[in-house]
């Protein structure tokens, strides 16, 4: 956060909200660390291993929340009345943050499972579902990085985001029925009875990871916003350069000197990107 304070707010990704969120996340995380490692008691059966309960459930939940946000934002992007680049950016950012949380969830699950069950991986229903979800969203992120036109990419990834959300309930039943056939829900049996300070610490961990998620999301969407603004400015120059091709005999009419009027360039880049206000501001600056 010192980084965002040093750079001017105009070009940086931080603002007062993110600083507040960041501070809150730091305080909450410190609280989780203190209560989780110092004040709460060890479990009778699992010993200190139980302290993973202050990380794993919160991280897993945030992964599912992140993917839910991606699906919802994708749907809002596809619905013509609410189509806005905001939703595309939100879906992409949430997908990225979600994959990180998902990977953390799988890692902490494995770390918990190794001493508890003696294996790094068990085909527990919920763990399998999380792994499937992670694979789905790795594919989603790969799709987002395939290049091509911005709008084409946005539509493709929005459809993919909705499709993935639809398959999750089916995945849920498939993994549940598959595993309950052979054994009970292992992770559920692993969860010890929690009470008092443990419950409060666990609740605090949900708040901490929720704040971290929100903080990451603010920065990531802001970054995407700046990237798309850069592309918009690029489009105004590209239009000018493209028109200048019509007069190859004029060496001085390069893209820099081409007098594309501000509002017109803004209208073009605005309709190409759906952000006339932003583009207008940038085009106004440059002309």
């Amino acid at each position: 956060m010192t980084r965002t304070e040093r750079s001017p707010a105009k070009t940086g990704t931080g603002n007062r909200t993110t600083r507040l969120l960041g501070a809150g996340a730091l305080v909450a995380s410190a609280g989780v660390l203190y209560f989780g490692l110092v004040t709460t008691p060890a479990d009778e059966v699992q010993g200190d291993l139980v302290r993973l309960i202050y990380i794993h459930p919160a991280v897993s939940t945030m992964a599912f929340v992140a993917f839910g946000v991606t699906a919802l934002a994708s749907l809002l992007y596809l619905y013509p009345r609410t189509r806005s680049w905001r939703w595309d950016r939100l879906a992409g950012a949430s997908g990225e943050v979600g994959v990180v949380f998902c990977a953390l969830s799988l890692a902490t699950g494995s770390i918990w499972g190794r001493p508890a069950w003696g294996v790094w991986w068990t085909w527990d229903a919920r763990l399998t579902l999380t792994a499937l979800l992670c694979a789905l969203f790795v594919g989603y992120l790969a799709l987002r990085r395939t290049g091509g036109g911005a709008e084409s990419r946005a539509i493709r990834s929005a459809v993919a985001g909705v499709l993935f959300a639809v398959v999750v309930p089916i995945d849920h039943f498939a993994t549940e029925w598959w595993r309950t056939l052979h054994q009970g829900d292992t992770l559920a049996t692993l969860h010890p009875k929690i009470h008092g300070s443990q419950l409060w610490t666990m609740l605090l961990s949900f708040i901490a990871f929720g704040l971290i998620y929100a903080w990451l999301m603010f920065h990531r969407t802001r970054l995407e916003q700046l990237e798309s603004r850069l592309e918009n400015e690029g489009l105004a120059y590209a239009l000018a350069a493209r028109r200048a091709e019509g007069a190859p005999s004029e060496p001085e009419s390069g893209p820099e000197t081409a007098p594309v009027s501000g509002p017109e360039a803004a209208a073009v880049s605005g309709s190409a990107s759906g952000e006339s206000t932003e583009a207008a501001a940038s085009a106004g600056l440059q002309s």
């Binding site: 290049g147 091509g148 036109g149 911005a150 709008e151 592309e231 690029g234 489009l235 590209a238 239009l239 000018a240 493209r242 028109r243 200048a244 091709e245 019509g246 007069a247 005999s249 004029e250 009419s253 081409a258 007098p259 594309v260 009027s261 017109e264 209208a267 073009v268 309709s271 190409a272």
Partner: protein, 255 residues
């Protein structure tokens, strides 16, 4: 009668690049218009925009009464596009290809046979797989589809390329027939001698825009690549004035 094509300051993007940078064009029904310009001037993109394949992100585009900024799909059954690629399935025969394309476009199957014969594909060639055709034969197969479909607007991209002398004459006849039947033809070509003899007028493209044009005489003379001084004054009344003063500036430089 409403014009077949009316573009106003149309901007179209391809992978973020503005292939059309504010094009203005009007084509009337029953008119043959020749597009000329250097490679990369935006001729193919203009044709694809008129076919509803490229989205118009700014400006307006109305083709055969369909507003392409609202719906690009409705117009497609009514226009015929002959591009560099012929959109044939290599594993199907000439006849199968034509039959599929004609039925897909909702045209009567009865039109297939006369079209095949007209393009000289009625004999042995009809049962040859498209993968074994020469470039000229592929083009003739694609033309047979257009003849059978009878679109209201023909969009031809270098239609003479790859054809032998006999079939070039045939193509010219097909275009004249289409226009006689009331269709409009927009054609991009580098073969100015042949194409401008067919065309009612020639427009020049550069830098993704249609340069302000004079009405071209029906002569075999190629139109100069750069418009002479004062070209802006000859602008047809139907075309909107330059929208940002940029073209005016360019013309002034040339002057």
């Amino acid at each position: 009668m409403a014009p077949a094509v009316r573009l106003r300051s149309a901007v179209a993007l391809l992978g973020g690049f503005p292939v059309l940078a504010g094009a203005d064009l009007e084509v009337q029904m029953g008119e043959v218009v020749l597009l000329q310009g250097a490679n990369g001037a935006g001729k193919t993109s203009l044709l694809r925009t008129c076919a509803g394949l490229l989205a118009v992100v700014s400006g307006s585009a109305v083709v055969l009464g369909c507003d392409l900024t609202l719906d690009r799909r409705a117009v497609r059954r009514r226009v015929g596009l002959l591009g560099h690629a012929t959109a044939l399935y290599d594993d199907l025969t000439v006849e199968d290809n034509v039959r599929f394309a004609v039925r897909a476009a909702g045209a009567p199957s009865a039109a297939v046979e006369p079209a095949l014969i007209r393009l000289g594909l009625g004999g042995r060639l009809r049962s040859v797989g498209a993968s074994r055709l020469s470039a000229g034969q592929r083009r003739r197969t694609a033309l047979a589809v257009l003849v059978a479909r009878q679109p209201e607007l023909w969009l031809l991209d270098e239609p003479h390329a790859g054809l032998d002398a006999e079939h070039r004459d045939l193509l010219d006849d097909l275009i004249r027939d289409a226009v006689a039947g009331g269709a409009a033809v927009l054609m991009a070509s580098h073969e100015l001698d042949r194409a401008s003899a067919l065309a009612h007028r020639t427009v020049t493209m550069a830098g993704g825009q249609v340069l302000p044009a004079r009405p071209a005489p029906r002569s075999g003379l190629p139109t100069p690549a750069t418009d002479p001084p004062g070209a802006a004054a000859h602008q047809p009344a139907g075309i909107s004035p330059p929208h940002d003063g940029f073209e005016v500036l360019e013309v002034a430089h040339v002057a």
